[in-house]
């Protein structure tokens, strides 16, 4: 097996498990819906106020649902000692990392695409022209979240209190992603010219590259046994 | 008296000396009078008065002279200041004035204008910065000594 086929098999395996159990995506979507509901109760908003805070609410919901998905990504491997089997893969451990990142990215992105229309309907947003830019923001931020989240999902899976430790370790580290995603989303929703929030997209791109490389390298040490 | 106690005793003595020296240095600056005290007691010599520059009373004449009223809780003082007015001299600003009270003319002759010193904040910051470090270090050294003794006493120590 080449490294590339390791990546392909891991993605395929995660997709098939997800299709059969429908555990991860359904729990993520329902959790996000509840978060949206709670937020709409806590802030009574007209359309003007909604434009100001909606980007923040959106990314809080996406980050928390993302953490649910990331936590499940490696904890399912604990059943039947699948984690040990993964550690015994003769190829570079980085291939497992890339496969898991791809799968996590796909789940999170699908959930975000499913949820976005909910936001549009529930908060009366008007998005027609900015949709491609918004997709770019979602794409870049989700790559960043899944790149660093997959590393910490693997790192916390074998420790006590892993459900608590994953967000505690992950959230401070993704502060730049959250700031940049919220600012860029707000800019796109307000219909500002792209030049005004270009810098946030650049920041997201830099973060993605840096943390894919660093996590790829560090993953070797996580899986080291 | 172990070595540990002697060392920490020295640190404590040095700390006390520093605190006393600093207190001595600032003692004169700590106390200031309120305007009504100046009116009632009419103290002689150099005094420090704390109050707020009353709104609408500040007049500067040229570059070397200023008059204003210094407002306290119950009374205000007319103030005459000679010299280039400092940046801090603005209306509604709380200031400390150093100068003499002219009983005959009922005017405070200010020689120096300063902002209110916040010694409480300074003392708080230094205590917060240094005290926890000292306590932590003391606890750690004591624990190291305790562990050494423990290892010796339980005959666990052997050359490897």
């Amino acid at each position: 097996m080449t490294s590339f086929s390791v990546i392909r098999w891991i993605v395929w395996k995660d997709f098939v498990t997800e299709l059969r159990s429908r555990e991860t995506i359904s729990s993520m979507v329902f959790f996000a819906l509840i978060v949206i509901l709670i937020f709409s109760f806590s802030f009574s908003m007209d359309q003007q106020a909604a434009r100001e805070v909606i980007a923040g609410i959106m990314w809080v919901a996406f980050a928390f649902t993302g953490i649910i998905g990331l936590g499940k990504s490696f904890s399912t491997e604990l059943q039947n000692d699948c984690l040990e089997a993964l550690q015994m893969v003769p190829e570079a451990k980085g291939a497992i990392y890339l496969g898991k990142v791809a799968a996590n990215f796909a789940f999170m992105f699908v959930v975000e695409i499913l949820l976005f229309p909910m936001f549009v309907i529930l908060f009366n947003l008007e998005v027609v022209e900015e949709i491609s830019l918004l997709l770019l923001v979602f794409f870049l931020a989700t790559v960043g979240l899944s790149a660093i989240g997959t590393l910490f999902s693997a790192l916390t899976v074998q420790i006590r209190a892993r459900e608590v430790m994953l967000p505690i370790l992950l959230l401070p580290l993704v502060v730049p992603v959250m700031i940049a995603a919220v600012e860029a989303t707000k800019g796109a929703l307000n219909g500002d010219p792209p030049a005004m929030y270009e810098q946030w997209l650049e920041l997201l791109a830099i973060y993605d590259v840096v943390f894919t490389v660093v996590s790829f390298w560090m993953f070797e040490f996580v899986m080291d046994s | 008296m172990t070595n540990l106690h002697i060392r920490w005793g020295g640190v404590c003595i040095v700390a006390i000396v520093l605190i006393v020296l600093t207190y001595d240095h600032y003692r004169d600056n700590l106390a200031s009078l309120a305007p009504q005290q100046v009116r009632q007691e009419a103290p002689k010599g150099d005094i420090r008065v704390l109050g707020m520059v009353q709104g609408g009373t500040l007049e500067t004449r040229g570059a070397g002279e200023a008059t204003f009223a210094l407002l306290g809780e119950h009374a205000s003082l007319p103030v005459h200041y000679e010299g280039p007015p400092p940046d801090n001299l603005r209306e509604l600003k709380i200031l400390v004035l150093i100068g003499t009270w002219n009983v005959g003319a009922q005017v405070f002759e200010a020689r120096d204008i300063g902002i209110v010193p916040n010694y409480g904040f300074i003392a708080g910051a230094y205590l917060l910065g240094l005290l926890p470090l000292a306590l932590l270090l003391f606890a750690m050294t004591r624990r190291v000594h305790f562990l050494y003794d423990e290892i010796k006493a339980s005959k666990l120590y052997e050359e490897e």
Partner: protein, 242 residues
Amino acid sequence: MTIHRVIRKVQRFEGWFGGSAVLCLIAGLYLGLIGSPPDYYQGEVVRIMYIHVPLAHTALLAYIVLTIGSLWYLWKRDPIVDNMCQAVAGLSAVFTALALGTGMIWGKPTWDTWWTWDARLTSFTVLLLILIGYLMLRTFVDDPEKEARYGAILAIVGFVDLPIIHFSVEWWRTLHQPQSISMRGVSISSGLLVPLLFMSVGMSLLFSYMLMVRTQLLYLDRLLHAKKGRLLSQFHLSKSDS
């Protein structure tokens, strides 16, 4: 192993570090509190700088030491280096918390607010959160080798993240807050520099001394633990034999 010999050599001069730290701090405190003039804009409050800035410098220095130690650990897998990392993380958290606390006390008289989402304050808060996460992570792992490895990974990722966090917070702040609250007037003149230098050097020396003591403490703790465990198992083995 060479690193053991180096550590043992440095440990022999432990007392010198502690002594020179105390001397530097005494000189710095004397110069800062008594010897130096008050600042033109800030008045006497500027003296808080002599304690706040060295604490903040030392916290960053500690994090750099933690990163180097973590890289070294992942490379050589040396348990004593891991002891050092654990010690330095705890100290770094203490120094960061104290730097934040003194910063808040400085902010009250100068900016008239205890807290502002200033870029430096915010990134120090995130640093403190990362360090607390590091210390928590270490308590939640059972296997000491795994504990060391996971801690090192978190420290390195956090180190790479810190500059990005700082820049993103700085950009965010310039968007949302007027620049009126700034460090105006604290241009470092030579009168301020000398006590600051003494305090900074003294604080770094104090940190090195505390690091040595704490490394020793953790090492002895583990030694005692291991030996007690070994004696206990020998005792049980001899019992089951007879």
